[in-house]
Amino acid sequence: MSERPGEAKLPHLFRPGRLGRYATRNMIKYGACCVSNYNTRDGHITPRELARTRVIANTGCGIITNQGAYPDPRGEGKSYFRMVALYDDKFLPQFETIAGYIHEAGAVAIQQILHAGRYGGIDLGYCVQPSVVPQTLPHFRPPREMSKDDIRRCIREHVEASKRAIKAGFDGVEVTSFMGYLLASFNSRFTNQRTDEYGGSLENRGRFMRELIDAVKQALPEHPFVIRLNGAELMDAWGGNSEDECFELMQQAAGCGGDMISVTVGWQEAPESSIGRDVAPGHWNYLAARAKRECPNTLVAFGNRLPDPRMADDCLAKGEFDYWEVCRPMLADPELVHKAAEDRLDEVRRCIGSLNCLSRVFRDLPYSCTMNPALGHEVEPEYAVTPAAVKKKIMVIGAGPAGMEFAITARRRGHDVTVYDRAGRIGGNLLGYAARDLARPDDLLSVVRHYEVMAAKLGVEMRLNTEANAKLMRSVLHQYDVCVVAAGARIDLSAYDGLPGRERLVDALEVAAGRIQPGKRVVVIGAGKIGLVVAEFLKKNGAEVTLVEADKRIAGDVMPTFKWRHTAWVEELEIPVLTSTRLARVTAEGAVVVDAKGVETSLPADTVIAAAPRVANQALFAEFEWMVDELHGCGDALMPRGMDAAIHEGYRLGARI
């Protein structure tokens, strides 16, 4: 294939490489970032998974790592609800299919063997560990100590699973010694309290890992062996390994003949974040650079919180690591590598680090992606974007994520699409929300920029600064075949009708959009995501803020993997929170609130902001019902939820209209 225009701009990423005896067409490794939960409860791969892996195989990566399979028939290594297994030949046919997909696409195929150890035993009610160290998270199972016989058996099972992967057609295997999984728990001072030859010194703690690498290498000397290791556990405050110890363990792994070290960050139970959008891209690169310095003769793959191909190319140029290992950004956009190669990076849908994928996996659900509504539905033709049988003229009311997702999807199918919005810019309520976000506004604003770019490239007509109402509809009567109402949601101030001082209440979305400047003392009513974002932003910028929430807990509508972030910010910013408390009245002096026991409290404030409840903007449905052939709705205009539902509904409607 001749060089594509973007490849010259990212020459280090797109140069050929080599893993053992296998040539790779570029320096990009698709990482086995987390299991999909698309498979059967007993470990068999489903057609849904096969359709998904076909997409993965065609991402354009030089190396593709298939998601982790547990190696033992007992299920002690099984950590996820619908995880795939590789402890028996009965699983081979689907693995053969996947290896075939990867080879057809011209990539090197690696199968990950994942024994979750401390996080395993999902169906058993216990997990296995080097020592009986209790869990720090309620999510996981009580521990049992592994005997030396257990260790020997576990090594045999890894060898057998590895041989099975090669038999299925994979070129090499990857073993997991990171994130608190089995080998990592032996490596760590925190979980390994043993007094035999597998515990104590770092040399002893790494023994299980070294024996396992050695056994697999002896069984499969011609095949590349990859091991995933932590550059930092982020567990040192709790008694885990220091970074220095992590790198000594890497040297042990390299010394045993590991062909590639995949450097990762953090344990699942670590008290700090590693891959969420509150972590700056590039933050962890120093760990990969150190791995390369300390293990110069072993390939190093890395990609934690490194979503941008340009940054990765720069790291490769500096020799910080050898392969850019990337997964989550390609959940968001499976075309990422191709867009980079074709110099179309402006079209990339960025992973925004919302970690919807993991939120769902830890609820035992199949993973999905906020930014990629088709993820996990590749097997369903209904989710494919295909040319429309009948080309229609479509008007969309609302340029937020739901409306824009619908617009670009429908346009890709050949429809003629015009979007109306009263604001002067694409984005809807997301614009104000993103601008006030403490984590990383650029991530959320990238969603807006993506829609701006794609609307322009695809030829979606934008009518901004245009209020959609019956008058507008009459002016365009019979010009459109379809109207899609994606007008979002608003704060329902009518919920406060009859409340003394109601006229003094201020709308949180107006504050978020910057149209209202609150005073220095603020009370925010409603500690859902809008109230939290506004409160955190105002407090960060010097206001005195109190949050009032009618529910028992705050952040009720926040994604599970980000809930902790808001509760931590509220604590760090020392924002007082009154839960199980309602607004009683608003006065010139502030807010009077009443708790569940009926006790009133006066909260002095210059501004009282209503951030709840929310209500869907549905008025246009009734107004337009007899004015257009087809009338549809999507996103918060149907029911207030969030960006995830907005994007997914916009896409689904666009794909079938």
Binding site: G125, V132, P134, V265, S273, P560, W564, R565, A568, E574
Partner: protein
């Protein structure tokens, strides 16, 4: 820890009383043990108190009685012998310093994140839920800790 247990025992009771709503749903006899993070052996070596059995040492116990969450004293000899649902291992002075804060429970949470306190669960998630710990665990942000975020 003996000093810690003595000095903070009386101090924590009003804190638990002030947050009674977090413990309302608890089963009677549900408890959380607070023990020192480390023990020092005869050779002066420091060991984490996370092993199943250890030499007896004083601990503080937050025990749900029929009336309320109550602070008690107890003896800790390793988690294998502990009947508690939850275990909190504290660095020296961490509990006292949290108690001295204007909002002790919030401070506890901050110190938990900083690693000065280590929180461990001694029952399964379902058992903890059925014994009424959900509100307290959510208040500490525990279900949402973890690097997968």
């Amino acid at each position: 820890m003996a000093a810690l247990a003595q000095s903070t025992r009386a101090g924590w009771q009003p804190v638990l009383d002030a947050h009674a709503e977090l413990f309302e749903a608890l089963a009677v006899d549900a408890s959380l043990a607070l023990v020192p993070r480390w023990r020092i052996d005869a050779e002066g070596q420091r060991h984490a108190n996370i092993v199943p059995r250890t030499d007896p040492m004083p601990m503080q116990l937050w025990l749900r009685t029929p009336l309320a969450m109550t602070v008690r004293e107890g003896v800790y000899a390793g988690h294998a012998h502990l009947g508690s649902d939850l275990l909190m291992l504290a660095e020296r002075r961490a509990l006292d310093e949290a108690l001295a804060h204007e909002r002790p429970l919030s401070e506890l949470k901050r110190r938990l994140r900083r690693g000065e306190l280590l929180f461990m669960v001694l029952r399964t998630r379902d058992e903890l839920r059925s014994r009424g710990w959900t509100d307290f665990l959510e208040a500490l942000g525990l279900p949402f800790l973890g690097t997968c975020r």
